[in-house]
């Protein structure tokens, strides 16, 4: 058990608001890396206070993409919320719909057939890999190299093709259903998946070789923006950013949901806590996801073609409360459902991992040079859909 201290100080507003425009000091300036920014990967502002070349303070401003998701969910029947959950985080859509279906199934008290669980695992891991590949592409552009952007997107196309073969859509797939999944896998799906994973591991090694063998890349990432384990725990950072700081916790292994306890995989954890560690954790996670996919596909084959993949569920959910957690590509996401016996939820609350990770941007960015700020922010993989909801 970690002994935690209070290391969070209060946010202070820009100096001209605090001490008045006439007394405002002139050697430190606030730069607004504003909502209209070529490389901010989503609609948010990061105000940084710069003293010469070093950042001394930061303040993230979010809320530009707020769509009233939770309120909208109160007005829709349960199955109609599934496409909405897709659009919570548009690059990791399968995990959010899986989370939502798990929450409603828990409220209903039903157990999903085994085949559906394994198919959901495969779909989740495909989603994780393609989300990490989009992150890798974004890291390339932030560091100033367009080649990694195009190579990452090229690799991602193969995984999106797998999504098409599974359910017909590339990104916001609308695939899991309350009680299972929408359709069974095809006969040749396992062949396609195996081909894709073999090809992918070789291609990813090419990209990583290019990055690791060049001291320019490594010097842009190593030693920059360290976070300690205690800071991570205090700030509530989860996901690969937390595992890069030495906290050894992954929901799939330590609090397994949906048959992950039958899958054997490793969780990458590094202790340095700098940008390079967070980068390496995500790369290693992609390799581990390939391993998980292979094992899950074998289990699906073992269950055979005629195993059930979907249950019929009642449309009214009995009154009660349910919550479920899931390991999203960006961290730990959670949904909390309060139902009242009708066919629409009374309250549906989403905890997005990036909401807390972005609030941790202030200690991450303090003490770093201005030119490194995009690189640091790229490593926590911002996707504003889930942050703003």
């Amino acid at each position: 058990m970690m002994v935690v201290e209070n290391t969070i100080d209060t946010f202070d507003s820009p100096p001209e608001e605090r001490i008045g425009k006439d007394k405002y000091e002139t050697d430190a300036m606030w730069i607004y890396m504003g909502p209209q920014h070529p490389f901010s990967h989503g609609l948010w502002t990061l105000k940084v206070r710069v003293d010469g070349e070093i950042v001394t303070d930061a303040e993230p401003v979010i809320g530009y993409l707020h769509r009233g998701w939770e309120k909208e969910a109160e007005n829709r029947e349960y199955p109609k919320i599934i496409p909405m959950a897709d659009r919570l985080c548009y690059s990791a859509s399968m995990t959010y719909t899986h989370l939502y279906c798990m929450t409603v199934e828990k409220a209903l008290g039903i157990e999903v057939p085994e085949k559906a669980e394994y198919i959901r695992i495969v779909a989740d891991e495909i989603c994780r890999i393609q989300s990490h590949l989009m992150w890798l592409a974004a890291v390339g552009t932030d560091l100033g190299n367009l080649t990694i952007f195009l190579w990452g997107m090229r690799e991602r196309e193969y995984w999106l093709d797998l999504n098409v073969r599974l359910c017909g859509q590339r990104m916001t797939t609308n695939y899991p259903r309350i009680g299972g999944v929408r359709n069974d896998t095809t006969d040749i799906f396992d062949r396609d998946v195996m081909r894709c994973t073999e090809r992918f591991e070789k291609a990813l090694w090419d990209i990583i070789d290019m990055i690791d063998s060049s001291s320019v890349y490594v010097s842009r990432m190593k030693g920059i923006s360290r976070l300690t384990r205690e800071q991570c725990a205090n700030l509530g950072v989860t996901g690969p950013a937390m595992r890069g700081c030495g906290v050894d916790f992954d929901l799939r292994r330590d609090d397994p949901y949906g048959k992950y306890e039958n899958i054997d995989f490793e969780v990458p954890v590094l202790t340095e806590g700098d940008t390079y560690a967070r980068y390496m954790v995500r790369i290693e996670e992609m390799f581990q996801s390939c391993e998980i996919i292979r094992q899950a596909i074998r289990k699906i084959n073992a269950l055979g073609k005629n195993a059930p993949y979907r249950l019929k569920v009642p449309s009214k959910v009995p009154a009660g409360k349910a919550f479920c957690k899931l390991e999203d590509p960006r961290g730990e996401s959670l949904m909390y459902l309060i139902s009242d016996g009708t066919d629409k939820p009374f309250r549906l609350k989403v905890r997005a991992p990036l909401f807390t990770n972005i609030s941790a941007s202030r200690p991450m960015v303090k003490g770093v040079r201005v030119a490194d700020v995009p690189a640091v922010m790229a490593m926590i993989d911002v996707c504003m859909g889930e942050t703003d909801r």
Binding site: H37, L143, G144, N145, L150, W151, V216, Y217, R220, V373
Partner: protein, 376 residues
């Protein structure tokens, strides 16, 4: 062929062409005027020696500018296609294999609105842009493409080229200031400081090449390499350092702070819109082309195909050989851009002062030792 006003010592094919063209056109005009008013002094003056020489020089300058301009457009096209292929895509495809796309982009930039922000310092804003582009064009056109394709043939040719090349950082600094924008000022200062700190190793390496060849004259350097060997072999360290410093001077990735600072702090080019920006970009490519031409002259033997080849082989289209060598070096610069991310400003300055300057001094020492030891 030559008249008493002929300004050069050696044969200059572009002067020839200019001479012939003016004699033809000026002759027609003089003959027409003579038809109307027989025996008038204007016709006499139009085909007199001094006037023919003057116009031949003007046409020479124009021709050389056109040839270099097309060469720079070809290197722009090369960059887009090669960049595309490295990134597993095809690059521009419109026009003759994508070449017309560059011309189309230039025409499009012509039609954009030339905005003029309100509170700038107008005179420095206008003048610095013209001077940056002007010096870039001057440097690119002062490098001869062969023994017979040149504008001037200075005895201190390479030194003058380097001096003109080094004027641009000052204008960048002033133009960053003139835009009345604290971010542009910072961007201008950063671009200027990185360019200035990379010029010193370049100058020391130019000195080492001059030590080995005995002259700063560009024709002389190429002839000296033709007798012994290409200077990339003894001065390999100098080649690598000069190559990297040219990437930094031409503000190419991995040293492209001026364009990249737009992501955090705006660069010095932000308030320039329309054709001014287009010409700044062209100036960037002109400087890249000029440094590639310099590398090919100093290290790769210039316009001779090989030192052991006979004179007849070396004399066949030397201009094309020089251009091809320049484009090959540019290909390596594109390769460097593709593979590496941006270097941070403090890392750039570290490299320039702490790594490249000692290496260039070592290079100079090697050159002096070789010369004193009688090898060259």
């Amino acid at each position: 062929m030559s008249n008493p006003y002929y300004p050069y010592d050696t044969y200059n094919v572009v002067y020839d062409i200019g001479f012939e063209v003016y004699q033809f056109l000026g002759g027609i005009v003089a003959w027409l005027i003579d038809l109307l008013l027989p025996g008038n002094p204007v016709s006499e003056w139009l085909i007199s020696d001094a006037v023919v020489n003057a116009f031949a020089i003007i046409i020479l300058a124009l021709l050389i500018f056109i040839v270099i301009f097309v060469g720079v457009l070809i290197s722009l096209w090369e960059e887009r296609k090669v960049l595309g292929r490295f990134m597993d895509r095809r690059g521009t495809m419109i026009g003759m294999k994508g070449f017309m796309q560059c011309v189309a982009d230039g025409l499009k930039t012509f039609m954009k609105e030339n905005t003029l922000p309100k509170k700038i310092d107008k005179m420095t804003y206008m003048w610095t842009v013209s001077l940056i582009i002007g010096t870039s064009v001057l440097v690119a056109c002062m490098l001869p493409l062969s023994d017979r394709f040149y504008i001037v043939n200075f005895d201190s040719g390479l030194l003058i080229v380097m001096a003109l090349y080094a004027l641009a950082p000052f204008f960048i600094l002033v133009s960053g200031w003139s835009q009345n924008n604290k971010y542009s000022l910072i961007g201008g200062m950063r671009a200027a400081e990185s360019m200035i700190s990379y010029e010193i190793p370049m100058l020391i390496i130019v000195c080492s090449v001059a030590v080995l060849s005995g002259t700063f004259n560009i024709g002389g350097i190429v002839a000296a390499q033709n007798e012994s060997m290409w200077y990339i072999i003894p001065l390999f360290v100098g080649f690598i350092v000069f190559f990297t410093c040219s990437c930094a001077e031409a503000e190419r990735s991995p040293f492209d702070l001026a364009e990249a600072e737009a992501e955090l702090v705006e660069g010095w080019q932000t308030e320039y819109a329309g054709m001014k920006w287009g010409l700044i970009m062209l100036g960037d490519y002109l400087r890249g082309f000029a440094s590639c031409a310099m590398i090919s002259i100093m290290f790769l033997g210039g316009w001779n195909i090989a030192p052991f080849a006979s004179d007849a082989v070396n004399g066949f289209l030397p201009e094309l050989v020089q251009l091809l060598k320049g484009w090959f070096i540019f290909f390596i610069m594109i390769w460097v851009r593709v593979a590496l991310p941006r270097v941070r400003i403090d890392q750039i300055l570290n490299l320039g002062w702490k790594v490249f300057m000692p290496l260039s001094v070592i290079n100079l020492a090697i050159a002096v030792l070789l010369k004193v030891g009688g090898v060259f």
